[in-house]
């Protein structure tokens, strides 16, 4: 496959987490732990994952809790790094893992748009250009100059989502956030996703909402215990997944 057609390439990725049953952070504890090393556990989360995602593909990662979906997504955004193997992404990437990270409650909605968007790597000018669109999308025009701490949790999420979705990235990584806001806002998010899909953006979803998966995605990857169990056309994978979990 030509490299320029690829958006994300995951090659032989292994990831293990050290699970500290009781973590030694200080010298005293470190010294004590020298004699009792067995308080640490290695947990293998991903085991030899290979995945190639083409530009413009919309892929769902499905699987039960603890199957490594979110870890894989975090690896793609480079919040964490694999123990073995490599992950390459080609193009500007935005992850919607935890919405509103970096929001400052004392600052106004408008200021938080600037701050949050700058974390995504936008310049002042780029944010200026998108400001109206973000405010419109969030439907918070009347509240935009109020401090974010006065927002309800739904309003907060709407603002966060509006910023993230308007970053204009080529690759979007989305973790279980299709449950933002009320019915009306959810539909709006769906429309926006379809729109982005039409524009040829690459998207990777993690979700348990199978209806959303089948509606939106061309391809599904089923992770089971840190391995790819099935990778293929959405309905086929989803049906088999439902059969085994039901």
């Amino acid at each position: 496959m030509q490299e320029k057609d690829l958006a994300i390439e995951v090659k032989n990725v292994y990831k293990t987490f050290n699970v500290y049953l009781d973590k030694a952070n200080t010298i005293k504890e470190r010294l004590l732990f020298l004699f009792s090393r067995n308080r640490r556990e290695k947990r293998e989360v991903l085991n030899d994952i290979n995945l190639q995602i083409k530009k413009g593909e919309v892929v769902a990662l499905i699987g039960t809790n603890g199957s490594g979906k979110s870890t894989l997504l975090k690896l793609m955004t480079k919040i964490i790094y694999p123990n073995k193997g490599s992950i390459e992404t080609y193009g500007k990437l935005t992850s919607l893992l935890e919405l509103g990270a970096g929001f400052h409650p004392d600052f106004s909605g408008r200021e938080n748009i600037y701050f949050n968007a700058s974390i995504f790597g936008l310049t002042k000018k780029e944010i200026d250009n998108r400001l109206e669109e973000i405010i419109d999308f969030s439907e918070l025009r009347d509240f935009i100059d109020n401090p974010v701490r006065t927002y309800s949790s739904g309003m907060f999420m709407r603002l966060a989502f509006a910023v993230a979705i308007n970053v204009d990235a080529e690759i979007l990584l989305i973790d279980e956030i299709l449950s933002v806001g009320d019915e009306h806002f959810q539909n709006k998010c769906f429309d926006k996703m379809r729109d982005l899909k039409k524009q040829g953006k690459t998207m990777v979803f993690v979700t348990h909402n199978m209806k959303a998966v089948t509606e939106l995605c061309d391809r599904a990857v089923w992770l089971y215990k840190g391995k790819v169990k099935k990778d293929g056309e959405t309905t086929e994978v989803v049906n088999e997944y439902i059969k085994t979990t039901a």
Binding site: N18, I27, S118, G121
Partner: protein
């Protein structure tokens, strides 16, 4: 497709800018005296030392207050930044775990914000120099050069300290003890020449003593700073910054897991 350090920094310049702004402005946002604290803090400190040292230690330094503030203010820039660097990753742990952005933005914006605070506090030095009768000479044009050298020193240390503390939290406490010791190992309240020969090496290996003596040269002694030592120091520090960044880069890969 590894982007190099400067390109990535340029891409995220807005984040760097907002971080620095928030830091400088937010510092005194909720206090009554507000921005005045930038001046009151060092002034109070200078007052205490200016009373204690000449009285108790019979210090015969001429214009001791000016002598003192040319040492104390650069030292404050150094010590505040280093102690804050030790906590900066833990402070930002929440956001580091959730969003990707170049991690080096955090120490860099911390050092830059403190450099701004230092520039503001320089007004105190200028005030003392002008109203203390010494006046300003042409040598102050070297101020930016000395500032850059100190910036490099603080940056190199901040890279290493901020990253190592994530794995080894005790470092925070070592740093605060170390800074107290180093305060007396740096010619701030005394002059480097009065040190007994046996202890001179402490001052000779301490980069802060070169920086403080350069600041002293331009404001207090009103003479040419030792540009050769400064140049040598700058070269060492550029190298130290590169090494510091490489260490930081190596360690940052597991930040999200360790925080």
């Amino acid at each position: 497709m590894k982007k190099n350090f400067f390109k990535r920094l340029y891409e995220y310049r807005e984040l760097l800018k907002t971080n620095v702004k928030k830091d400088v402005r937010g510092k005194y946002k909720k206090s009554f005296f507000g921005f005045l604290w930038s001046f009151l803090n060092p002034l109070l400190q200078i007052t205490v030392y200016a009373i204690v040292f000449p009285l108790i230690l019979k210090n015969t330094q001429e214009n001791y207050v000016i002598f003192l503030c040319t040492g104390l203010i650069p030292w404050t820039f150094f010590s505040i930044t280093i102690s804050r660097a030790a906590g900066c990753m833990i402070e930002n742990g929440n956001i580091l775990k959730k969003v990707y952005f170049p991690r080096e933005i955090i120490p860099i914006s911390l050092v830059t914000a403190e450099a701004f605070n230092f520039i503001i506090s320089t007004i105190i030095i200028l005030g003392f120099v002008i109203f203390g009768g010494l006046g300003i000479t042409k040598y102050v044009i070297f101020y930016p050069i000395i500032l850059i050298v100190q910036y490099l020193l603080v940056l190199a240390l901040s890279f290493i300290i901020s990253a190592v503390t994530v794995y080894f939290r005790d470092l925070q406490h070592f740093i605060s003890v170390g800074l107290q010791l180093l305060f007396y190992g740096t010619p701030i309240v005394y002059s480097g020449e009065t040190i007994p020969e046996a202890f001179k090496w402490i001052i000779n290996i301490n980069p802060m003593s070169y920086i403080i003596s350069a600041f002293r040269d331009i404001f207090y002694n009103q003479q040419m700073p030792d540009l050769i030592s400064l140049g040598k120091l700058a070269i060492i520090l550029i190298f130290a910054c590169i090494v510091g960044y490489l260490i930081f880069n190596k360690l940052q890969k597991r930040f999200a897991e360790e925080l």
